[in-house]
């Protein structure tokens, strides 16, 4: 690779390799949408600690899980940071009759901590609170992109409350 001819051949071969992978394993069309959704948060003034996705299990194992996603499917998603993790069980929407485009989310914050929980979705925000056991429920969120903002607080013996560093999950599809 020391002269122009070789460089040209290398560029041309790399272009072929690129097309190979673009055919075999294309980036999802909505990848950039999720990135931009995640970046919106940077416009806010608060500094958040970003959690990482550590596990995602779709209850219907196997290749048809996505296609056969039914009202009985529950997806487990775990996020973790240095000092805190959040587990989510995403199931059918909690309203009656259930909305097929809605999801119910049961969440657990560990170690257990009271927190304000804000869900950002494609269509807006909804909010709930986690009790001192760290448990929270979002009865109905629209299917699609989801990101959770967690504002945990330490509740002192005398009932005093001290806010801790807030956390944000990466954006996931539910």
């Amino acid at each position: 690779m020391t002269d122009r001819t070789n460089a040209g051949a290398a560029v041309s071969l790399l272009a072929r390799i690129r097309r190979l992978w673009e055919t075999l394993d294309p980036a999802p069309d909505d990848l950039a949408d999720r990135v931009l959704f995640a970046l919106e948060l940077e416009d806010l003034d608060t500094e958040f600690e970003l959690l990482r996705l550590t596990e995602r299990t779709d209850a219907l194992a196997g290749t048809r899980a996505a296609a056969r996603r039914t009202a009985s499917t529950v997806t487990h998603i775990t996020f973790a940071g240095e000092n805190l993790s959040v587990m989510l069980a995403v199931g059918p929407d909690g309203s009656t009759p259930p909305d097929p485009e809605g999801r119910r989310i049961d969440g657990w914050i560990a170690p257990a901590s009271a927190a304000r929980v804000v869900a950002h979705t494609d269509t807006g925000e909804c909010e709930t609170t986690a009790d001192e056991t760290g448990r929270f429920v979002l009865e109905t969120v629209p299917a699609g992109m989801l990101r959770l903002l967690l504002f945990p607080r330490r509740v002192g013996a005398g009932g005093s409350e001290e806010p801790l560093v807030p956390f944000v999950t990466p954006t996931v599809e539910v």
């Binding site: 051949a9 560029v11 790399l14 272009a15 990466p170």
Partner: protein
């Protein structure tokens, strides 16, 4: 936004023009502005306060980062996650990227580091988990892969698979992260074309030897 003298350079995801069958002697004509240069302009514009430029940068480079991260064997969900956190890191530390010309490289290096870290962590936790292994393969088997490819691509695919895992990974990373810029970078920044790096050059040479001994691609 700085004035852009070129036309068509800003169009994201423009598929590269079809190569003539055997032009191995000449670098392909630059049908568009090199990626690093598009990235530089958009990043500079964003730092000057143009929010839309960041959107365009994300749309242009996220697919590149996807391939860079997937090359490390991460599953699709983890890849999504790494791509997101790479962008967040850039936005948070944008000021620390001293040379806007290096923003493409900054992003791909950050994505590679994180991909490597995540791949090592998941290797530890599921060393014997078949499902984990399967999840990283883009297609279930080679028959399925070959059904998606034309004849020439099929031949290339089989030859690429004869390389070591490390070479396969490096070539995928190089093919996306530094495209098609050897010629461009070498020309405009006076860097030696050989700066591809000795290991990558060796992998590329191995692949070319395989192609030659198999009678060529097209």
């Amino acid at each position: 936004m700085e004035p852009s003298s070129s036309t068509g350079g800003r169009v994201p995801k423009t598929p590269p023009a079809e190569q003539p069958p055997a032009p191995e002697r000449h670098p392909p004509a630059p049908s568009e502005q090199p990626l690093w240069q598009q990235a530089e302009e958009l990043f500079t514009a964003w730092r000057a306060g143009d929010e839309v430029a960041m959107h365009e940068l994300v749309r242009t480079l996220s697919p590149v980062l996807w391939h860079v991260v997937r090359a490390y064997g991460l599953d699709r969900d983890s890849t999504d996650d790494v791509v997101q956190s790479t962008w967040l890191t850039l936005v948070r530390s944008g000021a620390s990227v001293r040379d806007a010309r290096a923003v493409l490289r900054w992003l791909t290096v950050a994505a590679r580091r994180e991909a490597w870290r995540v791949s090592q962590a998941s290797r530890r936790t599921r060393a014997s988990d078949d499902e984990g292994l399967e999840a990283v393969l883009p297609v279930a088997d080679s028959a399925e892969a070959e059904a998606l490819l034309d004849d020439e691509q099929c031949r290339l695919w089989r030859l690429v698979h004869q390389l070591s895992e490390r070479c396969q990974r490096l070539l995928r990373v190089v093919a996306f992260s530094e495209r098609p810029d050897y010629a461009g970078i070498a020309g405009s920044l006076q860097m030696p074309v050989g700066s591809i790096g000795p290991t990558r050059a060796r992998c590329l040479t191995k692949l070319r030897t395989l192609i030659e001994t198999s009678g060529g691609l097209a």
